[in-house]
């Protein structure tokens, strides 16, 4: 069941209806039942992997908490992690890895094909984080397997996160109280879902039309076309991910469950380090807490710190996808930060010499532009289908400038009306982002607007998504011409 489908919306509504009708003590179990049903709408075999993860981490955490000596705790933790992360690696990366090895050592690719359960990358990290937290004594393990399963399977999170922490999610997932703010939950949740649909369907999928047209055939486009396509991908990946997360957060909100924000205006970052505090916050904080800090973080000298950063971003690249270009993307971000740290003293010297106040708005804007460009260049590696293709695209972005006729911008894949819609929609998101960046609380601000105007805004957004969203089977007049009468 796609989160973009009518069926998903009906599912959330029906589940909310059941959820609010029953007494609060049934809440987590209703959510569990709904989550299991949701997951089973995909291939039923996926649920076997999920069940294995739940059982091993549930019992593993209890055993870890009961063990007294640290060595024994460590062994149990390692076993649980090796099993779960090993399973993730096996199903997701083994076929690709075997293909690579066969090329390097010149033997026939065994052609392994494995079932890759949907959401395995997300829920594996989520339950692994839980076990590590229990090992660290952060909280006691959950003793009720059904309650634990409702955390591990929570349907808004299972497909694409955000990867949630047990102590944060359980606060509202297990909350049992009468007199919940049902009306506020449903209205706020619906608004968030609508905003998510706007980002995903009006912006991301529209920008994708240029990206999907240009990237596979990049040699046919000059620098202008490639830059526009690169920019569109930067917009696409943010609004796609953010939009889908907002749809999921909205679904959670409808059920009274708070899900963390995963993005904080990432394209306003003033450095790559800042970017990773604002982009996919759930993953970057997971990597920080469960990989970077255990590796030593920045406590073991500069060289070790840089190595740790590179390791973390190597892992991030691997986690994001199967392919060397994902690894390249991750390492690029790692190197950005290492180079940024290495050059920081020199940059500070230059600013001091030139008497530049690094807090001034123009300097911050300059930093934001540089960061945006660096991130966008890295995104090329994320989107392109190979490292060499990525390198060539980036190279051609700088070396292929010619006299470009702006009137032929439509050759990139969108006609003028669609381009106008894209630009206006991006401006809307930009405006909202600027407001949030400046501390304006959008939801509260909107709630303070008089009701008729608020409703006009919601209905207008609904109309925009309905009409301008990229979805559905598409209409072509030609297919309706009854040639045979």
């Amino acid at each position: 069941m796609s989160i973009l489908s009518v069926q998903f919306m009906l599912f959330v509504l029906v589940l909310a209806g059941i959820y609010y009708i029953f007494p609060p003590k049934f809440k987590p179990y209703i959510i569990l039942a709904g989550s299991v049903f949701f997951y089973l709408t995909f291939d039923w075999r996926y649920s076997l992997f999920l069940l294995l993860s739940i059982v091993t981490t549930f019992f593993g955490a209890i055993i870890i908490s009961k063990r007294q000596d640290k060595r024994s705790k460590k062994i149990w933790l390692a076993s649980v992690l090796v099993l779960n992360i090993g399973l993730l690696f096996a199903v997701k990366y083994l076929p690709y890895f075997m293909g690579l090895v066969s090329k390097v050592f010149d033997f026939q690719d065994p052609g392994i094909s494995l079932l890759v359960p949907i959401g395995i990358s997300f829920y594996t990290l989520q339950v692994s984080g839980y076990c590590i937290d229990v090992y660290r004594g952060k909280y006691e393990p959950q003793r009720n397997i059904f309650l634990y399963a409702s955390f591990a399977t929570f349907f808004p999170l299972i497909l694409q996160g955000p990867i949630s922490r047990y102590d944060q999610l359980s606060k509202t997932l297990y909350k049992r109280e009468r007199g919940e703010r049902i009306y506020e939950n449903i209205t706020y949740g619906a608004q968030l879902m609508l905003w998510g649909f706007f980002q995903k369907l009006v912006i991301a999928d529209r920008a994708a039309m240029i990206v999907n047209n240009v990237f596979p055939d990049y040699t046919s486009f000059d620098s202008f076309g490639l830059v526009i396509a690169g920019l569109c991908y930067t917009i696409q990946i943010y609004t796609d991910f953010s939009g889908c997360v907002d749809i999921c957060r909205g679904a959670g909100q409808i059920l009274g469950v708070d899900i963390m924000e995963n993005f904080k205006q990432p394209y306003f970052s003033i450095s790559i380090t800042d970017f990773w505090r604002r982009w996919h916050i759930a993953l970057s904080s997971w990597l920080r807490d469960y990989l970077y800090i255990p590796l030593g973080g920045n406590r073991k000298g500069k060289v070790r710190k840089y190595i740790n950063v590179l390791i973390v971003f190597l892992v991030s690249g691997i986690w994001h996808g199967v392919g060397l270009h994902y690894i390249a993307w991750g390492l690029i971000h790692g190197f950005y930060q290492v180079i940024g740290a290495l050059t920081m003293p020199a940059r500070l010297c230059v600013c001091k010499a030139l008497k530049i106040d690094r807090g001034r708005w123009w300097y911050l804007t300059f930093q934001r532009i540089i960061t945006f460009v660096l991130v966008s260049i890295a995104w090329v590696f994320f989107r392109a289908e190979g490292v060499m293709m990525s390198v060539n695209i980036v190279k051609n972005m700088f070396t292929g400038w010619s006299t470009y006729n702006f009137a032929t911008i439509q050759d990139l894949g969108l006609n003028v009306p669609d381009l106008i819609v894209l630009l206006v929609a991006v401006l809307i998101v930009l405006t909202i982002s600027i407001c949030k960046h400046n501390g304006i609380r959008i939801r509260q601000g909107v709630a303070a607007i008089p009701l008729p105007i608020r409703w006009i805004m919601y209905l207008a957004l609904f109309f925009v998504v309905l009409v301008f969203g990229i979805y559905g089977p598409g209409y072509s007049g030609a297919s309706f011409i009854y040639m045979n009468f």
Partner: protein
């Protein structure tokens, strides 16, 4: 939380949802595909049907293009004052015809129902998308429409037919005046479902000789549709008539099944009017009466309609008191004007 607050929230929710439904409905009306070129405007034809006085129609013709090119209700009316309507769409599957018949009986009490049997050969397994939209879109939203969508729309795509804006919303770049008119001033046409077309080609026509045709099994879904329509007619006091209009009877894809349909009808005691065996009787001329080899033009339809009119009179049908005869007279004049 007090009851007053809950009631207030409930009222707000209902009002907002009603407004959202209005936005959805209005957008669907504007963005929905309206028509093919003029004569084939099924939306306009159904709008006309819905505007007819209750119980003012005494016969209907349901089926595919072979129906809407065959019976011209204005010609029938001109000859005998008997009012009727054609509810046919291109390649309309018989299962869809069943739901059209149900739609008819909501507001009308026809005494005779002509079911055109050409599409009986269709097993329903691979219906073209355009055919399904063409059949479903013109109907008003109702339970009947929902059941129709559930039955004939492909699995996994039913919501695109229920909310056809999912299909048509990309038309926002090609909207014209008729799209906006659909919101407050939906178009109608006066042909009463008939598609008025002229032909210039000449065809060699030959009456069907069923002795030379081997019957083929009627596909299950078509047979069940015929059975269901027969039962529906009986339940509503209407006489079902199987109409076979012009088609290429040398093509065994159709002729074998049509023969089986005729045999089925005869077993049930259903009248059969097979135009393909009556070309001489009706003085059908291949040089002047066809739009193409399978469809009559306006001249051919006039001849067939004359026969249908006589048939209806024989069945005892008369002028309907509920019909707006002034409108019918005006519409006939408009039709004649349009032929000039």
């Amino acid at each position: 939380m007090n009851a007053k607050k809950i009631l207030g929230q409930a009222i707000k929710t209902v009002c907002f949802l009603a407004l959202a439904a209005a936005v959805l409905s209005a957008s669907s009306k504007v963005l929905g595909r309206k028509s093919y070129e003029g004569p084939w405007n099924h939306m306009a034809k159904m709008n006309e049907f819905y505007s007819m006085n209750r119980d003012s129609i005494d016969y209907v013709g349901i089926g595919s293009s072979h129906m809407y090119c065959t019976i011209n209700p204005l010609e029938v009316y001109n000859k005998s004052d008997i009012t009727g309507f054609i509810l046919a769409t291109q390649r309309q599957p018989l299962r869809a015809s069943y739901y059209y018949l149900k739609e008819v009986f909501k507001t009308q009490s026809p005494k005779v129902v002509f079911i055109e049997g050409y599409m009986g050969f269709d097993s329903g397994e691979e219906i073209e998308e355009a055919v399904i939209y063409d059949a479903i879109d013109p109907l008003k939203l109702s339970l009947n429409k929902l059941f129709m969508i559930n039955e004939i729309a492909p699995e996994g795509e039913k919501e695109n037919y229920f909310f056809n804006i999912f299909k048509y919303h990309t038309r926002w770049q090609e909207l014209e005046q008729e799209d906006y008119d659909a919101l407050f001033n939906p178009p109608k046409d006066f042909y009463k479902g008939y598609v008025c077309i002229s032909g210039e080609e000449e065809y060699t026509i030959k009456e069907t000789d069923y002795e030379k045709i081997k019957e083929k099994d009627i596909p299950d879904n078509s047979l069940s549709a015929l059975e269901d329509m027969y039962k529906l007619c009986n339940d509503n006091g209407a006489k079902m008539v199987l109409l076979i209009s012009a088609y290429d009877s040398s093509d065994k894809t159709y002729s074998g099944v049509i023969k089986s349909e005729i045999m089925w009808a005869q077993e049930k005691g259903i009248d059969v009017i097979d135009i393909t065996t009556m070309y001489d009787e009706l003085n059908i001329d291949g040089k002047t009466d066809f739009y193409d080899s399978g469809h009559f033009d306006v001249d051919g339809a006039k001849k067939v309609s004359g026969y249908i009119s006589d048939y209806l009179v024989e069945m005892g049908l008369q002028k309907n008191e509920n019909a707006d005869h002034e409108m019918w007279e005006e519409d006939y004049k408009s039709y004649i004007e349009g032929l000039k």
